[in-house]
């Protein structure tokens, strides 16, 4: 009926007897290390705090990568198969049957150069948006800057991108694409795309905590976004009178430039500049929104 609690106490050394002498005394600082008080309603995410927790960011990212590949039969090859299969499908339908123009490059190469950054971008937003909800266990039990969660989810997708990039190298060699100096911009473009995905994920992941239907909405919106971006067709296909609206999409500059630097085509600098501007504004906005909602994550999730 009840468990005897008889000798619980006998195993506990008596707490009043010993005095701490062997441990170096911890000297109290004059200023508090941490002050806890209700958050101000408008403040940005504390980046120094994020930097202090960089090791946790590393391990969370590593975990995301490890876990994703551990239980799949094909493991890392999925990262190659997914863009390869979509490339195959688009090449058959758009390249061979419908004959979408590809600005003089073989359509396979053309569409892979578009699908590679797009696959990274959409996967990053998908896992970024769900990251806070799927890590609710952590959020409820331990403190760390919550921003690490979407950042690590997005960062983990960079690994997939790197793997899938090897196929691009193979295609470039196969089609004897001449390397030009602008290809050095590639890391910058990848960084910009990562930041854009992060900015979107910060907002959507925070919203997803409160409104679970955001998670359902995201894949649909991503599908639309893909067709509104120069992934499977060139920007030039869009009629001139729609171009100014079309270019509001920051991915026009990013994916367009990505393709341009790889294939040695001229870069659309004005579209790229617009993308940079959008990313900057979005990140500032996201930093405030995220901070504002962060305080309530543990209460809501």
């Amino acid at each position: 009926m009840s468990t005897p609690v008889s000798d619980d106490a006998s195993l506990i050394p008596n707490s009043t007897k010993t005095t701490p002498t062997d441990l170096p005394r911890y000297e109290l600082p004059d200023e508090p290390l941490v002050t806890i008080q209700p958050g101000k309603s408008w403040s940005a995410v504390d980046l120094r705090e994020v930097w202090r927790y960089r090791e946790l960011l590393y391990f969370l990212t590593l975990r995301d990568i490890q876990v994703r590949y551990k239980q799949t039969l094909l493991g890392v090859s999925w990262v190659l198969l997914q863009p390869l299969l979509t490339t195959f499908v688009f090449t058959i339908f758009l390249g061979v049957l419908i004959r979408v123009p590809s600005e003089g490059t073989p359509y396979v190469l053309f569409v892979y150069v578009g699908l590679l950054p797009w696959t990274f971008f959409s996967a990053a937003i998908l896992s970024g948006s769900n990251s806070l909800v799927s890590n609710s266990q952590l959020i409820n039990k331990v403190y760390f800057p919550r921003l690490l969660i979407p950042v690590s989810a997005v960062a983990a997708r960079l690994f997939d991108f790197a793997v899938a990039f090897s196929v691009l190298i193979f295609l470039m060699v196969y089609y004897r694409v001449a390397l030009t100096w602008p290809i050095l911009l590639l890391p910058v473009l990848v960084a910009l795309m990562t930041l854009l995905a992060l900015g979107v994920s910060m907002v959507t992941s925070a919203l997803n905590v409160k409104y679970r239907d955001v998670g359902v909405l995201i894949p649909v919106l991503l599908q639309l976004w893909m067709y509104a971006s120069p992934v499977v067709y060139p920007t030039s296909l869009v009629p001139a009178r729609w171009q100014s609206i079309y270019r509001l999409n920051p991915l026009v500059g990013l994916i367009g430039s990505f393709r341009a630097v790889v294939l040695g085509a001229p870069i659309d600098w004005s579209a790229l500049a617009w993308s940079v501007g959008v990313i900057a504004v979005l990140l500032v906005y996201a930093a405030f929104v995220f901070r504002r909602m962060e305080a309530r994550f543990a209460d809501v999730v």
Binding site: S2, Y143, Y211, D213
Partner: protein, 426 residues
């Protein structure tokens, strides 16, 4: 010089019921709600006040460096909320806390463990999640594995671990956390009894190292033995804050917890004086097992264990039983003629008093104990609210209740001999 390492000033936390804890929002609900509220405005007004609760209401206290503090209270008293605010998992609604040291919280063991990852990978992940540095973990790695006793399985995914191995590994990582302030919640509630003892032992070690520890638990023996100071929370406010025995005594008297055994392993701090010291006191059942809840039909033993340090004294162990309302049900002292007037020699004595079955009423009973000298009377020790136990109600022909299902008032419920004579002609 005892400056505070934790300053908690007027902390309050408000939760909105029904919004935060129940159903998840959907955008659709929100839109529907917005439409509804437009229409409801004219009819209902606002309903804001009714569905909010204050999980914490103006809580203030300070903790000095090296203090080990127990936080007790019933479920819903605000203990977990307080720990969550101190661990920065959630923000207070108002108030301010200053922390003058690194905080490590142990609100559960194995936070962030992933079943697909190996033991080795999880040690690093979990350790970093709890605030350790990678270098620190690499240095302590062998120690952690040895503590958990799982070295053969260190490269096996933890989903293949037995639950025992899993908990051992999780606790091993937690035990190697070295913050200046350690916050521990109910961690000890998991695992088997042996594991719980290992945890308690580790807690004691940590406490002795001069670290500041806040320990939330329902395990009263553990709280009393680990924490010199205890804070009692009741409905979000600090009801008592002080010496462990006083606060726990009060908590027992208000029926907050059961405590069937108290023990003083160190004679110099045991209750008493140079003549006699109480070493343990327990509530036992008819099989002489320590037991916090006893069937109303069965006898109940109160067992004293004490050391007589000066020979030649006539000593009488005495106790009283009080009901939950605080009313004393009875006092009783040892009237056994063999001992009552016999001067005692030095040494250990074990004295048991038996309260008959079918005597106390059902409910929580609180025991206070003394050991006194007679002629002249002198109290060598008095421990108020030292134990509490529960008398469990029963129906049936062998009870005073019989088959009556209603409220049975009174401090006692004796099963009396009843006699009736049929006398029609009188």
């Amino acid at each position: 010089m005892n400056r505070s390492i934790i300053k908690v000033e007027h902390i309050s936390k408000q939760y909105t019921l029904g919004v935060t804890h129940t159903a998840h929002h959907t955008l659709r609900d929100e839109l529907a709600g917005a439409v509804k509220s437009v229409f409801n405005k004219q009819t209902n007004g606002t309903n804001g006040k009714d569905n909010t609760i204050w999980a914490l209401n103006d809580v203030s206290f300070e903790v000095s460096r090296g203090e080990v503090i127990g936080i007790v209270g019933r479920n819903g008293a605000g203990k977990s909320t307080l720990l969550k605010i101190l661990s920065r998992i959630t923000e207070p609604t108002s108030g301010r806390i200053e922390l003058y040291g690194r905080v490590g919280s142990l609100l559960e063991v194995g936070t962030g463990f992933h079943p697909e990852l190996t033991g080795r990978e999880n040690i690093f992940l979990n350790g970093v999640i709890m605030g350790m540095k990678r270098k620190e973990l690499a240095r302590k790695f062998d120690e952690i594995v040895a503590f958990a006793d799982i070295d053969r399985f260190i490269d096996t995914p933890v989903k293949r671990y037995s639950s025992g191995m899993y908990v051992r590994l999780a606790f091993a990582v937690a035990a190697h956390l070295e913050p200046e302030i350690l916050i521990v919640d109910e961690v000890l509630a998991v695992g088997d009894e042996i594991f719980q003892k290992k945890c308690l032992g580790k807690m004691a070690t940590i406490a002795h190292e001069g670290r500041t520890v806040l320990f939330v638990s329902h395990n009263m023996p553990a709280v009393i033995n680990l924490c010199p100071r205890v804070i009692l929370l009741e409905q979000g406010v600090v009801a008592r804050d002080g010496k462990a025995s006083d606060v726990v005594g009060y908590y027992l008297q208000t029926g907050g917890a059961k405590l069937a055994r108290r023990e003083w392993p160190d004679i110099s701090t045991a209750p008493g004086d140079d003549v006699v010291r109480l070493r343990s006191i327990s509530v036992i059942d008819e099989d002489e097992q320590v037991c916090p809840s006893i069937d109303i039909r069965k006898k109940i033993g109160i067992r004293f264990e004490y050391d007589v340090l000066e020979s030649g004294q006539r000593l009488v162990p005495t106790f009283n039983i009080a009901s939950e309302s605080g009313a004393v049900v009875f006092w009783a002292g040892d009237r056994n003629p063999d001992w009552e007037n016999t001067p005692r020699s030095k040494g250990r004595y074990i004295t048991t008093a038996w309260i008959p079955g079918n005597f106390l009423n059902a409910g929580t009973m609180v025991v206070s104990a003394t050991i006194s000298k007679v002629r002249p009377t002198y109290e060598h020790l008095y421990e108020q609210g030292v134990l509490s136990f529960e008398v469990i109600d029963r129906m049936g022909s062998d009870t005073a209740r019989g088959n009556f299902p209603g409220h049975f008032a009174g401090a006692v419920r004796p099963l009396l001999p009843w006699e009736t004579q049929f006398a029609p002609n009188r």
